[in-house]
Symmetry: C2
DNA sequence: GTCTATAATTCGATAGAC
DNA sequence: GTCTATCGAATTATAGAC
């Protein structure tokens, strides 16, 4: 069937692109390197995606969407609860979904994590496109934080949440050398690491 | 005098390179763009620096050295004190020198800050070269932290300090949009921001 | 949908005159 | 030290056959 081969080609390109973007960055990855890795023809990229930039956006969306969806799901649970959530509860809902990628331990998930971190440290002009995928969710977490911590100015909560994102990105990028997770990188210890991280940032959030 | 014009050409190149690297990254900046900005000849870069990569390293060193020197100076004061320093004291000595760049408020210092943050989010292979300029200093701060917090494992202190660096880098990179410093960006309020940041991370460091 | 071939541009780097 | 001119290779993107 024609459709099957198309899907395979498209996915092969996306997989190869994600892997190379994650380790070499947007500018450091040539379309020729991608087609070599994916074992497809150069023109196939233009047929399926139109340009290098649009391919990048497709990769970002594929990685970001399940994470954002899970963040919003956990946020919704907190919002629908009768009592006001605690700071650690909010922050756990925020940081757990992206860190969950690591739990599988497969090569594929390692690449997801690395790309997820890498795409947010990109520059001109693709950085804006990546940011866009996370902005509204981050906004919603910021909103609930203003409810939990009404005595803090929204500006302060905003830059603190922004620094938490920076830590998250760094954690995801560090998977390679990952001395960070050396004591936590086994599957069952990811939750323990998440707890450590949440504790770390929760105290700073309150004071 | 020949020497003067040489120095001027060299410095013109370094200044232009720092500015462009800071906003477009290493791969996003062409040598032709640098010579256009610096108003010098293309071949001058090769005469004075040898290659694009070596030029990048020179820029990194120029920005990093005064900051590292100041970090070590403040660390030495703490080490020579009779009593064991507190966590906020150690962290203040660590984060103040890089954030001090912002205090001047000039265009020049804004570029320094932006490059300082940007060069640490670079990829292949220049990232390693940039890291190298900060590694030994970070190691020394890590060492004193193990003395201040002997009940914490060195691994844990290492990744926490690493996350603090990530926050620092993010803060420096955010200068452009800088809603983060919107309430703090006046010259006299930098110290106030430093205090906020140190408080933020100190609590997380202890628990 | 997939392929070959190639256009059009840009890049880092070098040779050699002055 | 500074310049012009250029090499050789790589890049994104497209045209057109199948």
């Amino acid at each position: 069937m024609t459709k099957n081969s198309t899907i395979n080609t498209k996915e092969k390109i996306i997989n190869a692109a994600e892997k190379l973007f994650a380790s070499m960055g947007f500018l450091g990855t040539s379309l020729r390197a991608i087609v070599r890795e994916a074992d497809v023809n150069l023109a196939a990229i233009y047929y399926h995606f139109g340009s290098k930039e649009e391919l990048f956006i497709v990769v970002v969306k594929r990685v970001a969407q399940p994470i954002v969806r899970e963040q919003l799901r956990q946020l919704k649970i907190l919002e629908e609860s009768e009592k006001l959530p605690s700071i650690p509860e909010v922050l756990t809902a925020f940081v757990t979904p992206p860190l969950r990628i690591l739990q599988q331990g497969s090569d594929e998930s390692r690449i997801h994590a690395q790309f997820m971190g890498c795409c947010r440290t990109e520059l001109h002009p693709v950085q804006k496109k990546a940011e866009q995928e996370f902005r509204s969710t981050q906004q919603r977490f910021l909103y609930i934080l203003t409810k939990v911590l009404p005595e803090k100015s929204p500006q302060e909560l905003k830059w603190k949440l922004d620094l938490i994102v920076a830590m998250l990105v760094r954690t995801l990028n560090q998977i390679e050398e990952s001395e960070m997770l050396s004591a936590h990188n086994s599957v069952e210890n990811i939750d323990e690491f998440v707890q450590h991280l949440v504790t770390f940032i929760s105290y700073g959030m309150s004071y």
